[in-house]
Symmetry: C2
């Protein structure tokens, strides 16, 4: 049986997982593709660093040219991460007619179109299933299984760190700070957790499935991004009492000919499938006109789950090599022209407020809400401290632009504070 | 742009959905495939029957030869259902070099291998994503995204009728009979519901994903099948009190070199993703060595969701026509030889018993359980009637072959009855 030689750039957690899977699952891979796969060369930063994984009979080098100039190597896996020099590395590989598999979310979200063009010009495959939601095969599923449907919405829990923190707050009654500390101890959060907890990682991750779903390339500027840093345990508990779980959701939704996209904490009804996605797990929900609601759940990160997505890309490229069909775009749905950022999106909201506990306050509050056309279905007032009352409200559907207006109106009052304002999904 | 002509055999709910989607989503389909699709001819039983869907400019005929002998028609969708004459129809179509898309679960489960061979001999595609779990793209996902992983288990809620009934029992405290009557009123259950409620439909549906997952063709004889007809509301409520929801699950699990496969009511922990799959929805969970647990959720039936799966197959065949790569098997993972039906599977069990409320009964019961090596983690005894007590038990992991032994041992006693014995998943 013919053998296809593979190069790796990077040998961290994912790279080691890829090496392990290629070695251990030879039988099944060759059963399916009719080819043996073998990792020939790995480019690493430091060739002397001790490795957890067996690299016998593999060339370890710090020189990319050992792959670029090796005509035997057909497929290269980029798992070094970061934008530079990963972009230059992938460009050089594609120009050397290597098919490229990457797990690099930041790079694909920011320069995916440019790299896809270079791949196309070189008749090479460029695939990146592992770049979004680790082990969940969401991109290939959108390409293959929603090809003939109009996707209305793609939303999901795409950051494992924040989902772990939120799960601990919900289940153990921990404050955000306590839960973050625990996540850091367990290695689920970094020592500077900003990229995760501020929602930036989740926003980047929404760009790629949005492009696959709507044929439109969003940028970070098209998205409102709110993290979980200011989420109060009191709101997690009150949401629970109302029958909801708070999740950090990325939402990209088609509204007429526009796209509304944001990342923010959202109250999800407890019998909604997204409500049971706990700890570091991820899930993406895709809603189509024909198919209705579908959900794809799995591990959002981790060496082997992400390696599995890389392997599914390698197998797909291998099939293309066998069939002589390489060079086709991973996502060929383009619909740039008539889609813009949607101006008006409507959701019910959860509002939590603290107010000085003196007569006439509720009247003041309800008058302010009524002036902004905010009506509500549920309201709870409890004693917070001796001086302050805590009020939680679930509103009827309202325009998301009303929230900054509400925030401003309340900001003008000395004795009422808006603590949180979160969308609600039933 | 070139147009690819399609034939339909059958114009029921799914056929009408396919016609509607091909017409309405032309833009996106041609954007992705580079081809226009157009339904030219539809074979129906009665050409004079009034139709809900617009068939202007389409040939309606009761003669299959109008498709067989039309060289313009490249792809034919079989949505007539049933085994005969669907099998003969598909055979004739493949022998006439037509690519075939079918939603026919019974036929593929029973004669899939034979038809795949005929397709292969004619260099034709035979694809059937819609045959399992309606709108959930589970088959193509297993083929594409688990190609390099070893799948350990595939389990799921694959029958919408029973899931609707179980949801009503759980949420509304209805008996099985009440919930069935309501399901029949709403059209979720047929007037003779046996095929659904006895688990037969679910068992058929497990055959195809099992084959894709393990490369082994199971038959109905390899599977134990238990339906929900004898499920008591008391057990649904007791399971709820223990923290579980009862679901009818199909399970196919790799145990060493064997496969354990069955369909039965199972207690699923409430924070497990399968526990929130309610009403007529379906979900399939796939567990792989590398990827871990993944879940795919969506509508299990219905005209448009199923049509969406048919369309994903049509788009896939169209891409193959464009690339000149037709004739490859939908599932080419074969692993027949060293897999057999597993003898020993271990699960915790939920047992419910009714016993005459006289002194010494609990001692008698626990002695009987101990003799069978059954140990338990939870036990609850409540008064049932004046004379009888109701006992519910959650056991530790035990061999599933112990259940018939337990049933026999209790059958020998006059004053203790085994009401239910269901697997437990945490």
């Amino acid at each position: 049986m013919e053998t296809i030689k593979i190069g790796l750039v990077g040998l961290g957690t994912v790279g080691s997982g890829v090496l392990q899977m290629v070695t251990q699952n030879q039988d099944k891979i060759s059963n399916i593709t009719g080819r043996q796969l073998s990792v020939k060369t790995i480019v690493v930063h430091d060739i002397n660093k001790p490795r957890q994984v067996n690299t016998d009979n593999i060339i370890l080098t710090d020189d990319l040219n050992q792959i670029i100039n090796d005509p035997e190597i057909k497929i290269v896996v980029e798992v070094m991460g970061g934008i530079h020099p990963a972009k230059e590395v992938i460009t050089a590989l594609l120009n050397a007619k290597k098919h490229v598999v990457t797990a690099n979310k930041d790079l694909i979200a920011s320069a995916g179109d440019e790299l896809a063009k270079i791949a196309h010009d070189n008749h090479c495959d460029l695939v990146y299933e592992a770049s979004v939601a680790g082990g969940i095969p969401i991109l290939r599923t959108i390409v293959n299984s929603f090809a003939a449907d109009q996707i209305l919405e793609v939303k999901g829990i795409v950051n494992g760190t924040t989902n772990y923190i939120l799960t601990q707050m919900q289940q153990k009654n921990w404050s955000y700070e306590q839960a973050l500390k625990e996540a850091q101890k367990l290695g689920f959060a970094e020592s500077d957790p900003t990229n995760d907890v501020a929602g930036i990682d989740a926003a980047y991750k929404m760009i790629i499935p949005s492009q696959f779903s709507f044929g439109t390339h969003l940028t970070m500027d098209d998205m409102q991004v709110e993290g979980i840093q200011n989420l109060q345990l009191a709101d997690v508990k009150q949401a629970d009492a109302f029958g909801f779980t708070i999740k950090l959701l990325g939402i990209a939704k088609r509204i007429n000919n526009g796209i509304f996209a944001d990342v923010a904490p959202v109250l999800v009804a407890k019998d909604h499938p997204l409500a049971t996605i706990n700890n570091e797990n991820n899930a993406v929900m895709v809603t189509g006109i024909a198919v209705g609601e579908t959900l794809f759940y799995g591990p959002g990160a981790g060496g082997l789950p992400t390696a599995n997505s890389v392997l599914s890309d390698i197998v797909s490229v291998t099939k293309n090599i066998v069939l002589g069909t390489t060079g086709n775009s991973f996502n060929n749905y383009q619909h740039e022209n008539d889609l813009i950022v949607a101006k008006n999106a409507f959701f019910p909201y959860y509002l939590s407020l603290q107010m000085l506990d003196v007569p006439g306050q509720m009247l003041k509050l309800t008058k302010l809400l009524t002036d902004l056309d905010i009506s509500f279905s549920q309201i709870v007032q409890t004693k917070n401290t001796a001086e302050y009352a805590y009020v939680a409200i679930i509103t009827h559907e309202m325009n998301h632009f009303t929230i900054p207006k509400l925030s401003k109106a309340i900001g003008n009052l000395r004795d009422i504070n808006l603590i949180g304002a979160y969308k609600v999904i039933n």
